[in-house]
C-alpha cells in the first residue's frame, strides 16, 4: 500500500487508482462525501490565506472556507445531474465521494500558486507568465480524472463515462454563468 494519499495516487494512475478506491473496504481508505468536501475547502481556505497574506492567517483561512463553500456544492449538483442523465442506477453519495478524491490537479495548482507567491523573487511576473498554462493543465488533468471516476470508479462503459463527464462540465459551466447572469455581471459585458 502506498504512502501517498488517494488524491496523490490518482494523479499518476487515475484509472487503476479509481478501481482500487471503488473496492476499498469501509474504514480502510474508503472515500466519504464529507471527507472529500472538507478537504477541498480546507485547501481552498489555505490557498486564499497564503496568497493574500503570505501566511496561514486563521481568519482568512476560515473565511476562505466559508466564502468558497459553494464550489463543492456546485460540483455535487453537477455530479448528481450527470448521474441522473447517464447512470440513474448509481447512488449519488458513492459517486460523489469518489469524485471528490479527484481534486488532486486543483490541489497541485493551488499549492503551486501559493508556493510561487511565497517563494518566487518576483511572484507577479512569475504568476503572470505561468498561471494560464497552469490553469489549462489543471483543467485538462481534472477532466481526465472525472472521466476516470465515471469509467473505473463507477464502472460505466466508455460512452457513458464520456457522456457523464460532458454533462458534468456543461452543468458546472451553466451554473457558473447562471450565477454571473443572476448577479447582473454577465449581460453588460457582452458586446451589443
Amino acid at each position: 500500500m502506498s504512502v501517498f494519499s488517494a488524491p496523490a495516487r490518482l494523479l499518476t494512475s487515475p484509472f487503476r487508482g479509481y478501481a482500487d478506491l471503488a473496492n476499498a473496504e469501509e474504514g480502510d481508505g474508503r472515500p466519504t462525501v464529507a471527507g472529500g468536501m472538507l478537504r477541498f475547502l480546507f485547501v481552498f481556505g489555505a490557498f486564499v490565506s497564503l496568497t493574500a497574506t503570505g501566511r496561514l492567517a486563521p481568519f482568512e483561512l476560515v473565511s476562505g472556507i466559508i466564502s468558497f463553500s459553494y464550489v463543492p456544492v456546485l460540483h455535487a449538483i453537477a455530479v448528481a445531474i450527470a448521474l441522473r442523465v447517464v447512470a440513474p442506477e448509481i447512488r449519488f453519495a458513492r459517486a460523489f465521494a469518489l469524485y471528490a478524491e479527484g481534486y488532486g490537479p486543483w490541489f497541485l495548482f493551488m499549492l503551486a500558486i501559493a508556493g510561487g507567491s511565497l517563494f518566487a523573487p518576483d511572484p507577479a511576473r512569475l504568476l503572470a507568465a505561468a498561471i494560464g498554462w497552469m490553469l489549462l493543465i489543471a483543467l485538462l488533468w481534472g477532466a481526465l480524472l472525472t472521466y476516470a471516476c465515471f469509467r473505473s470508479g463507477l464502472a460505466l462503459s466508455r460512452q457513458r463515462a464520456a457522456g457523464a463527464t460532458a454533462v458534468h462540465f456543461a452543468v458546472v459551466a451553466v451554473l457558473v454563468l447562471g450565477f454571473f447572469l443572476a448577479a447582473g455581471q454577465l449581460l453588460p459585458i457582452i458586446p451589443r
Binding site: S5, D28, F59, S63, A124, L127, G184, Q185
Partner: protein, 298 residues
C-alpha cells in the same frame, strides 16, 4: 479505524506551526498622522473586488487586507453591485478598521466606471452619461477605471463630466496587448477639465491591495464625507513606478518641498523576520504533506 501515520502527523504539526505563525506575525504597519499643505494625508485604494465576483477575499477580508497593507481608506467596488461594500463598511466600523467607502464598478463592454460614496447600485444597462448622472444624484464620485484606449470611444466624450481617472493601476507593472498604461496617463493628462488623479490596485487576489494607491488630502475631521469632498475637489496625488507624481499641481509642489513616502507599495509579502519566514514555509510544506501523504497507517 486505523491510527494516523507518522508522516501525516508531522505534516499536520508543520501546518499548525504555520497557523501559529499566521497568528503571531499577521501585523499591520503603523499609520502615523501626516499633514501636507494644511490637509491630512490619507492613503487610499478605491478599486477592490471580492469573491462575490472574481476576487478571492470576502468583504471582511478586504477590510483586513487594507489594514495589513497600510491603507487608510478603501472603496470596495464590486462589479455592478454595491452590496458587498456595505458589509465591509459595517465590519470595519465594528473592528475600528480603515475607512470604507461603499461603491461599485459599473462594468460594461464599452466602459468601466468606479462609483464610490453611493448607497444604491447604479445600473450598467444605460449610457455612460446616465451612469455619471446616477452617481452624482447620490452625491457619489465617478472615476474612469483603467481608461485604456479600447474604452475611449465611450469615455472621451464624457471625460470632463467625470470626477477622476485612474492614472496608476497594476497595468503599469504588466502591460498586455491593448491594455497600455501610457493610454491611461494620456487620458488623464489630456483632459480639459481637472480630474482627480487616482492610483488603484484593482485588487482581485494575492497581496497587492494598495500596490497602486492615492494620496488624498482631506479636511479634518476625517470622515467618509471629507474623503469624498477631497475627491470631488481633485485633492489627490498618485505616483508612478519611477516616483513621478500626478495630481493637483499645488499639492504636487507641496510634496516636492516636504515629500511623503507611502507606507507600502510593493508586490512582496512583508516578512516580520526569520521566524515569520520559517513558519510560513513550514505551513506551506505541512499543507503539501497533508494533501499528498496517506493519513492512516498501513
Amino acid at each position: 479505524m486505523r491510527a494516523l501515520s507518522p508522516a501525516f502527523l508531522v505534516a499536520t504539526a508543520l501546518f499548525v506551526a504555520g497557523v501559529i505563525g499566521g497568528l503571531l506575525f499577521d501585523d499591520a504597519p503603523p499609520r502615523p498622522v501626516a499633514h501636507r499643505a494644511g490637509y491630512r494625508v490619507l492613503e487610499g485604494d478605491f478599486h477592490t473586488h471580492t469573491g462575490w465576483s472574481d476576487g478571492s477575499l470576502s468583504p471582511l477580508g478586504i477590510v483586513r487586507q487594507a489594514n495589513r497593507r497600510g491603507v487608510d481608506v478603501v472603496a470596495l467596488t464590486e462589479h455592478n453591485t454595491v452590496l458587498p461594500s456595505k458589509a465591509a463598511r459595517i465590519y470595519s466600523r465594528i473592528i475600528g478598521g480603515p475607512l470604507v467607502l461603499t461603491g461599485e464598478e459599473v462594468t460594461t463592454f464599452r466602459f468601466h466606471v468606479i462609483a464610490i460614496g453611493i448607497e444604491s447600485t447604479v445600473s450598467p444597462n444605460q449610457p455612460l452619461e446616465g451612469v455619471i448622472a446616477d452617481v452624482h444624484a447620490q452625491h457619489g464620485i465617478a472615476i474612469a477605471a483603467h481608461p485604456v484606449r479600447r474604452f475611449w470611444p465611450a469615455l472621451l466624450p464624457m471625460r470632463e463630466k467625470l470626477d477622476g481617472a485612474e492614472v496608476m493601476h497594476p497595468i503599469a507593472y504588466s502591460e498586455r496587448g491593448e491594455w497600455r498604461w501610457e493610454d491611461m496617463v494620456a487620458f488623464y493628462e489630456q483632459s480639459r477639465a481637472p480630474l482627480s488623479a487616482i492610483g488603484s490596485s484593482d485588487y482581485h487576489w494575492m497581496s497587492v491591495l494598495g500596490l497602486c494607491r492615492t494620496l488624498v488630502f482631506v479636511r479634518e475631521p476625517v470622515s467618509e464625507a471629507s474623503v469624498l469632498d477631497a475627491l470631488r475637489e481633485h485633492r489627490t496625488v498618485t505616483f508612478d513606478r519611477e516616483g513621478k507624481a500626478y495630481g493637483d499641481a499645488a499639492l504636487v509642489a507641496a510634496l516636492r518641498v516636504e515629500p511623503y513616502t507611502p507606507r507600502t507599495s510593493d508586490y512582496a509579502y512583508r516578512g516580520a523576520g526569520t521566524a515569520d519566514r520559517v513558519l510560513r514555509t513550514l505551513g506551506w510544506l505541512g499543507l503539501a504533506g497533508m494533501l499528498l501523504l496517506r493519513a492512516r497507517k498501513r
